[in-house]
Symmetry: C2
Amino acid sequence: MQSFTALSTAFENYFNRRQFPESPANLYDAAQYILQVGGKRVRPVCVLMGNELFSELEPDAYKVAAAIELFHNFSLIHDDIMDKAPLRRGMDTVHIRFGDSTALLAGDVMLVQAYEQINQINQSYLSKIISLFNQTARQVCEGQQLDMDFEKKDAVTFEAYLEMITLKTSVLLAASLQMGAILGGAGLGNQQHLYEFGKNLGIAFQVQDDYLDAFGDPKKFGKQVGGDILSNKKTFLLIHALEASSPEQKATLETLMQGNDPDKVNKVLQIYADCGVEHWAASLKEKYFHQAMHHLEETAVISKRKAELEKLAQYLLQRES
Amino acid sequence: MQSFTALSTAFENYFNRRQFPESPANLYDAAQYILQVGGKRVRPVCVLMGNELFSELEPDAYKVAAAIELFHNFSLIHDDIMDKAPLRRGMDTVHIRFGDSTALLAGDVMLVQAYEQINQINQSYLSKIISLFNQTARQVCEGQQLDMDFEKKDAVTFEAYLEMITLKTSVLLAASLQMGAILGGAGLGNQQHLYEFGKNLGIAFQVQDDYLDAFGDPKKFGKQVGGDILSNKKTFLLIHALEASSPEQKATLETLMQGNDPDKVNKVLQIYADCGVEHWAASLKEKYFHQAMHHLEETAVISKRKAELEKLAQYLLQRES
């Protein structure tokens, strides 16, 4: 299998052209804008990797990879409208640049364009791919709704948060890998192992994301440490702290969340330390990483074909081994 | 062919069940809400009629009809957000009842659900139906964007307005009929005639809608006559009046549009009368009606099979003959 870098370049070569007509420019320029902002293209490369695990890289894999990237950007545009987010990847969000209405429509045409890419593949796989795509699209929408519901709730259980994160972020990674596998002619068992690999990897990645926001090295992390704490964002860490803390710690935590204490970040981090949150989060990430690797091991192809997927998992989770 | 009423009942029997899962309720109750508000179901019945014109009514036609109705409701939900519309079919719009974010997401899952209905049909037609569906979905989005663009423009030409209306409203009627024809095994020529029948019928219907808003009998019209005039809505009538009026009439019209004259409706109607707008609009509607009927005549099936489509056209355009 080719490396992530090689497949990422190959995908960019396929994808780096205008995906939309010229007119009406007000609509399609907005849609094109977010695609040019870029991103790591992890999900589409996962389609290619899932495919190359089982066969020569199929031309159809690029089409499905493009569909996945279009879907991902559709969901970013609409999520950013809902979250009133001003920035994405360091640039204006689509609705800030083009207005809410055009952003909404640009998301809509991007979703349609995703199905158009899928509709170009070999008909023998069409229905299977659409079925998994639809299931995943529904789940991503459900995850976003749960996320919004949770914002309004005082208490969210670990299990509920895990379900939300799985739907909102992990199933798309999982489905990307499985779609590649389907196009590669993989059997259902192998497809499912690869799906579970992606799903668990996605969860581990989210745990790490939450962890780094609190405990990361500010020089390496690339954004403000403690940002989640300042904005009272529900994270794996906060939810565990609220569940694991003593009544006194919990009361302090809730007071800190409601107030504007200038030393809020450090005080919350102290409670996290007292509750053993750092160690717990590190263990949780390891748990999902190991579950992911277990499913990759169980995938019935020879080991050396899996090396690049292992490397990708290590890279995403910033692990030395 | 069965009557509109019979096919409408048959469609309701197929469609009148929950289209979405129970949970998360905040998302799916919003999606289900607009479907229960109802509507005339003209587009899905057109799928069934297009199908029955060429074959026995196929079970797949109900699935495509459901997809069309889901797509139509998706576009209504998103359009209502963009237009900040408070009411739809006499009820709260989805975003008024459930909030903008949930309405946006409910539209998204409805579009996905449309593709899921399509994905249940016989695979031999799947790619063709999706291709036409995608083209139509893009066009409807383009029409909505053009409509928003036009709101901000002082002058819109007749041709530009016609293109916008065609995209925003007529192509979906046209595609509904063609999809039914595809499932009925119609040849490309017949498909295209049926598409043009629907497209021209849709335009004639929109001309009539604009006409009735200005010249309709308030007792029969069911909404305030002159509403379009009061809100300065660009309509076939206003665009023609601006193009056909003398410089003085045009200046008066523009002054009336900018001001709050309590007799605005009557004064604008007087200019419409002076410019011959009423007669022009009636002729325009006739022109598109006749173009529609011409394409129905050219469709190569025996005449008596077409009777119910003729009746539907007469009914939609409120014509005695």
